[in-house]
């Protein structure tokens, strides 16, 4: 029970997943900055600007923070355990 809980709270992902998450975060946030500024400027409203930006951040968090299966598709393959006793 404790193990399962800990696994969910830690939410570990593999190395490929980490790379993907990093790229998604960077690209989305840069795009969010540009888009929210343009939209806010067009609407002449700071409320619209920060609303759009907050929407992006919420969507990004939902996409990136939980350990979705897409980030766990390349588990690390360990070498088989050597049997040291027989040597």
């Amino acid at each position: 029970m404790g193990d399962v809980l800990q696994r969910y709270l830690e939410g570990k992902i593999d190395f490929e997943g980490q790379k993907l998450v990093e790229q998604i975060t960077r690209n989305t946030l840069i795009a969010a900055t540009v888009v929210s500024f343009v939209v806010g400027y067009a609407a002449q409203s700071l409320r619209v600007l920060f609303g759009v930006f907050a929407l992006f951040v919420i969507l990004l968090s939902a996409a990136v923070i939980p350990p979705w299966p897409a980030y766990r598709r390349h588990p690390v393959k360990w070498l088989p355990v050597k049997d040291t006793k027989t040597e």
């Binding site: 998450v21 946030l29 969010a32 900055t33 400027y41 951040v57 968090s61 923070i65 939980p66």
Partner: protein, 177 residues
């Protein structure tokens, strides 16, 4: 990035960087708005009376009473980054000693764009007196309406929206009977 907490940390760090960039861009965008509206300010009556200030009650000094008419449409000053406007009418004159004085005699805070169309027949809100206690021989004064744009993000900007066409001389002191 391998655990949930490190991803939260990473995302929030990048978000704060982006927010700073946005705030910087917003404050720079204020430079694009170069509206410079002008209005009119005229002095309808000006009188000088002797009196005692509440603070230095044994000192006799002159008080000037100014009535003015003010019309100005300052709505162009409201853009997306304008929080409010601080408007003030000040008298500018050189006193007998040749010191340049600027005395704020009236002010107003405009918080909404709808309130920025001004048409005011007002009088001085604040006591208008001279350090030398007298306006005798003081050269004529110019009266100006100035504004101060207070943005949500960025720097305060000052400007002048109206100025009396000709300098207005101080009248002779009228003695109270």
């Amino acid at each position: 990035m391998h655990t949930l907490y490190s991803r939260v940390n990473n995302v929030s760090a990048m978000v704060s960087t982006c927010l700073m960039v946005l705030l910087g861009a917003i404050s720079l965008s204020s430079l694009l708005f170069t509206a410079d509206p002008k209005g009119t300010l005229s002095i309808s009556s000006i009188q000088v009376f002797p009196g005692n200030a509440r603070r230095y009650s044994n000192k006799n000094q002159d008080f000037t009473f100014v009535n003015f008419n003010l019309t100005a449409d300052l709505t162009p000053l409201f853009n997306w980054n304008t929080k409010q406007l601080f408007l003030y009418v000040s008298a500018e004159y050189e006193n007998k000693q040749g010191v340049r004085n600027e005395v704020v005699i009236w002010d107003r805070i405009v918080r909404r764009k709808e309130d920025a169309g001004l048409s005011v027949a007002g009088r001085n809100k604040y006591v208008f007196r001279d350090v030398s206690a007298s306006f005798k021989d003081a050269p004529p004064a110019h009266y100006t309406l100035k504004y101060n744009i207070m943005p949500y993000v960025g720097v305060l900007t000052y400007g002048e929206a109206a100025r009396t066409v000709d300098p207005v001389p101080f009248p002779e002191r009228q003695d109270l009977s």
